[in-house]
Amino acid sequence: MSLDLEMEEIVKIFFAESFEGLDAMESGLLTLDAHADRQTIDTIFRAAHSIKGGAGTFGFLEIAQFAHSVETLLDEMRKGVRCVTHDAVQLLLQSVDVIREMTQFAQAKQPILTARADALSRELARILAQQADRPSVPAPNGVEGWRIQFKPEPTLFKTRNDPIRIFSELSRLGPLEVTPHVDRMPPLGTMDPTLCYLYWTLLIKAPVERTRLVEVFDWVETVSTIVYEPLFGADTAPPPAAPTALKAGTDFGSLRVSTDKVDALINLVGELVITQSMLGRFAEKFAAQDLESLRRGLIQLERNTRELQESVMQIRMLPIGFSFNRFPRLVHDLSRQLGKKVELKLTGENTELDKTVLEKIGDPLVHLVRNALDHGMEPPEQRVAAGKSETGTLELNAFHEGGSIIIEVKDDGAGFNKARILEKGRERGLVPENDALTDEQIYNLIFVAGFSTAAEVSDVSGRGVGMDVVRRNVNDLGGHVQISSAEGIGSTIRIRLPLTLAIIEGQLLRVGKEIYVASLVSIIETVQPTRAQLSVVAGRSEVFKHRDGYLPIIRLHDLFDIEPDSRDIAAGLLVVVEAGGRRASILVDELLAQQQVVIKSLETHFKQVPGLAGAMIHGDGTVALILDVPGLINHFLERQAARIELAA
């Protein structure tokens, strides 16, 4: 893929995400209009923040600038220094429209028109300049709407005014009802198409200030008669209920799939239908000589099914490279903007994960990378002074580990400043004075919404959005975030996501009558041990000499309480596994097939079990359990330790 094409792909993702974000803002604002709550404001704010960030990254400065002022207003609401007024919400809704329009322009590769944005920016600036803690004014003078008699001179069109534009402008102020009057209409024969015969009664059901309406009619004032009539209370219909059904709808069940893939699926289904009708014939009449064609039909059916299954899987599974792709550009631009030198290293781009997970992990990763660059990475001078290379390294790694996918964001920057985090935590009253915290507890403070140690709010980060979103998104996916950091050396943020949705290459193992599955990646080799290779340390711990070292032997039958074929190690097989940097050997009776395994959750209806990552379903419908190799090793070691304690 050429760089340009790649860029194209990434920009596409930005547009799609922006439109989703705008939808989320819109439905959030509509909820807010009904009743204000912190959670909703946070959601709207984050959406605005993401759009601003993305627009900036991809060079849509007009959008970024405008979104910035929107974000500032939202930030004040979020911090509680500004009341959520109806006017402000309306203004924000209009802003959403403007951003959407600008984004559409950008998407169509047209110049972005900023006339409306500029007007709204002024309005936003005006509101921002007002006393921040101004009390909430639901409606000026209790006015709940307006009835406007709009009777333009027939010569209206000649002044180059179009009433449609006025109406659409009005409809942005609130729900609008337009009633045209046709009594000025002449008979068709005498009608002059350049004249305006219609006039209108407009009903706007929103507590708008009169000046706003006058503004709209500014251009046509001289050529029309306009009567504004305020409506109070009962005259207006109740405001439409906030469309709760819309809430965050885009997050659920929507999957962006290229039409090619869908077409391929349709073709496969088409083939399947043909095969089915072919086989269906045999049900009506079957002669012995048809046996061969029946067999062929069944083979075809099997192939169709397999291909269909593969295509469906294909839709869901994507390499994480899709998400990683956007980072070279982002890091490039950001580091230049921040005056830092950073080299980005990507590994494990081909690690596959479920599309849903992939989509949801995108935003958190962007936040983490931004944070790492802005807060973690030091400027070149400072790095040199600290005896480090001028260019910092930022690593993004993805790999499978046992029952999980790990995504690491690793930098060799300054690391987290624990003292500063603690101080901020105290300032915000999150940590009681004189309370000693562990490193982990201190790092956990970063995940509190609105927590930021940045001295100044920058374009890049520092508003304290981010880590809370990161944690929430990851938790929603059933994973967790872990921070490790050393001051002056760097920090690593590890996102562990469950494999539940993923597929692994599995090795089937038999112990007695039971079958277990181990992920093939964790298996180094399988050996048939000789007695010479086996010893017992301190009368308890069995070890196996493997190449140059000794490995502990995990008797699976012992650990899981299974009746094995034989308890003699030399009669079984030792599967040498590695996970989390540790090696061990697992004693089993027999190796069975290797196959692709869809991991099913054991937790959904049952619970987590030590040493197990989930379950799989065999072709015959029975269930086999999947070993969580790192978990199994840990579990084995804990058990050994407990045994030794008991014996002592």
Binding site: E514, L559, F560, D561, K600, S601, L602, T604, H605, F606, K607, Q608, V609, P610, G611, L612, G614, A615, I617, G621, T622, V623, A624, L625, H635, R639, A642, R643, L646
Partner: protein, 174 residues
């Protein structure tokens, strides 16, 4: 006699409909000679015995897990749960699949019983509390007793039965 009984049932049904929430409908099953009832709204399906895969570190009454149309669902043997004599499962063994609220979503669990018996409409005011003399364990599982034409129907509190059966982290015994 048979006509009378028929009319009786019909009346009961009409009453049940008229009283709305005043009656509860139970699916009953046999276990060790007693008839137990479970809220029919909790019952998802009844299925025949299927190969169960044992899960390590499970209590004895959790027989293991089965594949229920792609979901991995645990199966509890109520005989063992209630401390009754163990019976080997075979092709005639029945599993009642119930749904109870879980931490995140509905939890689906299979229960092995001796046989499925009947469907009963039980008037709410006719449900009797358990005698005080019974132990705390019974009180957790049993919602109440109902007299169905001279026969005792033990109404299970299926939710707390399931939750207590599957609760807690599996811990390996050292």
């Amino acid at each position: 006699m048979s006509t009378e009984a028929g009319t009786g049932t019909a009346t009961a049904t009409v009453n049940a409909a008229a009283e709305g929430r005043q009656t509860e409908r139970y699916l009953s099953f046999m276990l060790g000679g007693e008839e137990y009832g479970v809220d029919i709204l909790r019952v998802q399906e009844i299925k025949v015995w299927d190969t169960v895969t044992r899960v390590p570190y499970s209590p004895p009454y959790v027989l293991g897990v089965i594949n229920l149309r792609g979901s991995i669902v645990p199966v509890i043997d109520l005989r063992i749960r209630f401390g009754l004599e163990r019976v080997t499962q075979d092709a005639t063994t029945v599993i009642i699949v119930v749904q109870v609220p879980g931490d995140r979503a509905e939890r689906t669990v299979g229960m092995v019983v001796d046989a499925v018996a009947d469907v009963h409409d039980v008037a709410r005011q006719s449900i009797l509390p358990l005698p005080d003399a019974l132990g705390p364990i019974e009180k957790v599982f049993v919602r109440g007793l109902a007299d169905q034409g001279g026969k005792l129907l033990i109404l299970l509190d299926i939710e707390s039965l399931i939750v207590s059966s599957l609760a807690g982290e599996s811990k390996a015994v050292a």
